[in-house]
C-alpha cells in the first residue's frame, strides 16, 4: 500500500450484474462514493433499501445490464465485506481498529485491479463513479490507461480541496469525541460511537445538498407541531431530517471506516504523483473521457471538473465535458436527473459502439 505497509489477507466484496461476453469486452466498473458500497442495483442487505444507483444501472438504463457486465466492489477500508478496520487483524485475532493501514485512492484502485484480473478481464469498457468514486476513476485512468477504454468521472476533483478536508476533519473529530469510540477499539470493548458518527453524517449531508434544495424541501417548516416549543427539540423539519439521516447511516456504516474513507479522499492529489502536473498524469492517454459536473454542487464545484478537463486537453486526451443544470447539489449524481442520465447513456453507448460491443 502507499503507506508502505503490506495488507494480507485481502478480501474484496463485490456485486456483478448482467453477463460478461465471450470477448470480455463489455465490462463496466462502477466505483462507489464515501458512504456507498457494492450494492448498486440490488436491495441493501442491511437496510433493505433499493440499490444506490438504480436510476443508472439495470435493464434499459445507461449501465444496461442486458448488454453489459456491471461490476462494483466495496473499496478496501470499507465496511461491507472488503477488508477494512472492522476486519479481524490476523496478528492479533481481533478487529484492526486504528491498526488498519491508512488507505489511499490508489490503494483502492490497485485492489480493484486485482479483482478485474481475477475476473479475467483485460480492458474495462468504462470505469465510472461520482465523488470519491470519481477520484478512483481518475486514478484508474492514470495508473492503468490501457485497461480503461472509457472513463466517466462525475462530480469529482483531481485533488481534495482545503474546504473539503476541513469538513472531513469536523466529521472525524465528532466520531473521536464520542466517549464510545474508545480510541477506535469500540468493537473490542463492546461499545459503538453512534452519536459521533451520526453527527459526522449530519454535517456531511449538508454539504451534499444545496441551499436552494434545502429551502425547497424544508423551508422553515416546523416538524409535526404548530408552534416553536422553546426547547432544543427538533422543531424544524430540516433538523428532523438531518437527525434521521444520521440515525439511518449509523445502522449500516462502521465509524472507523468513515475515518479511513475521509482520509483517503483528503490525501488524494493526483498531480502530486506526477511532478505536480495533472496533464502528465494523462499524457498520451487513449482513454475517452466524459467529465460531468452539476451547477449547484459546491462540494465539488464545476471549477474542479474544469481543471480535470484542462489537464486532459493539455495531455491531448479525448475528453467531453458537461455541466448539468440542477439545484440538487452534489447528490445530484445519485438522483433522477434526466439530462445527466441522457449524457451517461450517450457516452456509454458511443463507447460500446467504438469498441464493437453490441
Amino acid at each position: 500500500m502507499d503507506s508502505g505497509v503490506a495488507l494480507a489477507p485481502l478480501t474484496i466484496a463485490y456485486q456483478t450484474y448482467g453477463a460478461l461476453n465471450a470477448a470480455k469486452s463489455n465490462a463496466l466498473l462502477i466505483c462507489h462514493a464515501l458512504s456507498g458500497d457494492q450494492h448498486v442495483a440490488n436491495p441493501h442487505p442491511v437496510t433493505g433499501r433499493p440499490g444506490w444507483w438504480e436510476t443508472m444501472v439495470g435493464a434499459g438504463r445507461p449501465f444496461d445490464t442486458n448488454r453489459f457486465f456491471v461490476i462494483c466492489s466495496n473499496v478496501i477500508g470499507g465496511c461491507m465485506g472488503s477488508t477494512g478496520p472492522a476486519s479481524v487483524n490476523p496478528d492479533r485475532g481481533q478487529p484492526y481498529g486504528l491498526d488498519f493501514p491508512i488507505v489511499t485512492i490508489a490503494d483502492m484502485v490497485r485492489a480493484q485491479a486485482l479483482l478485474i484480473d481475477h475476473l479475467g478481464i483485460d480492458t474495462l469498457l468504462c470505469v465510472a463513479g461520482g465523488s470519491m468514486g470519481g477520484m478512483q476513476v481518475l486514478q484508474w485512468a492514470a495508473t492503468y490507461p490501457d485497461r480503461v477504454f472509457a472513463a466517466l468521472p462525475i462530480a469529482t476533483a483531481a485533488r481534495h480541496s482545503s474546504q473539503n478536508i476541513a469538513f472531513h476533519e469536523v466529521g472525524r473529530q465528532a466520531i473521536m469525541a464520542d466517549p464510545d469510540w474508545r480510541g477506535g477499539r469500540y468493537l473490542v470493548e463492546g461499545t459503538r460511537p453512534a452519536k459521533g458518527l451520526g453527527v459526522a453524517r449530519m454535517a456531511a449531508h449538508i454539504t451534499y445538498l444545496s441551499e436552494s434544495a434545502l429551502h425547497r424541501k424544508f423551508g422553515r417548516n416546523l416538524q409535526d407541531r404548530a408552534a416553536r416549543t422553546f426547547s432544543f427539540d427538533a422543531d424544524f423539519q430540516v433538523e428532523s431530517y438531518l437527525r434521521h439521516q444520521g440515525a439511518i447511516f449509523v445502522e449500516r456504516f462502521d465509524p472507523n471506516s468513515y475515518l479511513y474513507m475521509t482520509r483517503a479522499m483528503d490525501y488524494f492529489d493526483l498531480a502530486a504523483d506526477y511532478g505536480g502536473s495533472l496533464a502528465s498524469a494523462f499524457k498520451g492517454s487513449r482513454t475517452r473521457f466524459c467529465v460531468v459536473s452539476f451547477t449547484s454542487d459546491w462540494l465539488f464545484p464545476t471549477t474542479d471538473s474544469r481543471a480535470i478537463v484542462r489537464a486532459l486537453n493539455a495531455g491531448g486526451a479525448s475528453v467531453s465535458f458537461v455541466e448539468i443544470e440542477t439545484d440538487r447539489g452534489h447528490d445530484a449524481f445519485l438522483l433522477d436527473v434526466p439530462e445527466f442520465i441522457d449524457t451517461t447513456q450517450g457516452f456509454i453507448d458511443a463507447a460500446a459502439r467504438a469498441r464493437g460491443v453490441d
Binding site: 486537453n313 475528453v319 467531453s320 465535458f321 458537461v322
Partner: protein
C-alpha cells in the same frame, strides 16, 4: 452558439468548411452545435475532431455521437488550450456572437496551425439597403434576430474581417464568399463586389510562428 440558420444554409456552410480541411488532421470546432460538421469530418476525412459547445443539449447530442465535446464558449475556454494543439481551429458563424472577436481569433491562430472562420457579411447590399432606405436595423433570412434580442453583438463585413486578419498579423490563405443560396461567388469579382454581394464568407488563415 445557437444562431438561427436554415438547415440548407448550414449544410452548404459546413460542406464548404469541410473542403478546406486536410484528411486525417486534428480539428477543434468552436461552437460545434450538435456535432454535424465534426461527424462529417470524421466520416469523410478521418479527422480527429474535438468541439466546444455552449448548449447542454448540443453537448449531449455530440457525446451520443461519440464525439469529444466540451461545454463552454469561445470567449472563456480557448485560453485553456495549449499552443499548436490542432491542425485547424474552426469557428463557423460564431465570431460575431463572441464578446471579444479579436482575442478569440488570436487564440484560434495560436491553438491551431490554421484557423477557418466563416462570418455573415453585414456589408451585403440588402443589409445596407435596409439601413439606408428603411432606417431600421436589418433583419434578413440569415440574420433573423431583431436588434434587441440578437446574440450577434459584434457584426462585421467581409472587408472588416480582412482588416482584422491583417491587424493580428494573419495571412489569408484561401477565402470564398457565398451568395444567398450558398453558391460561391466568382473569384474574379473585386473585393468590393464580394463585400456587396456575399451573404457570408469563409476564410482559411494562419499566422507565422
Amino acid at each position: 452558439m445557437s444562431l438561427a440558420r436554415t438547415l440548407a444554409q448550414a449544410r452548404v456552410d459546413l460542406l464548404r468548411v469541410a473542403e478546406l480541411v486536410a484528411p486525417t488532421s486534428r480539428v477543434l470546432d468552436v461552437g460545434c452545435g450538435d456535432g454535424e460538421l465534426l461527424r462529417l469530418l470524421a466520416e469523410e476525412r478521418s479527422v480527429d475532431g474535438r468541439g466546444i459547445e455552449l448548449s447542454q443539449q448540443g453537448v449531449n447530442d455530440c457525446v451520443a455521437k461519440g464525439l469529444s465535446v466540451i461545454q463552454g464558449d469561445a470567449d472563456a475556454d480557448l485560453v485553456d488550450y495549449p499552443d499548436d494543439a490542432f491542425d485547424y481551429v474552426i469557428l463557423s458563424q460564431t465570431l460575431q456572437a463572441t464578446r471579444q472577436p479579436r482575442v478569440v481569433l488570436e487564440h484560434m491562430l495560436r491553438i491551431g496551425r490554421r484557423a477557418i472562420v466563416s462570418v455573415p457579411n453585414f456589408g451585403h447590399w440588402r443589409i445596407r439597403a435596409q439601413v439606408a432606405f428603411l432606417g431600421r436595423m436589418p433583419v434578413t433570412k440569415s440574420l433573423s434576430h431583431s436588434w434587441y434580442d440578437t446574440p450577434n453583438i459584434h457584426f462585421c463585413t467581409i472587408a472588416d474581417f480582412v482588416a482584422l486578419a491583417r491587424e493580428v498579423g494573419a495571412t489569408i490563405d484561401k477565402s470564398v464568399a457565398l451568395d444567398l443560396a450558398g453558391r460561391p461567388l466568382n473569384r474574379m469579382f473585386s473585393p468590393w463586389a464580394w463585400n456587396l454581394m456575399g451573404d457570408q464568407a469563409i476564410f482559411l488563415l494562419h499566422r507565422k510562428r
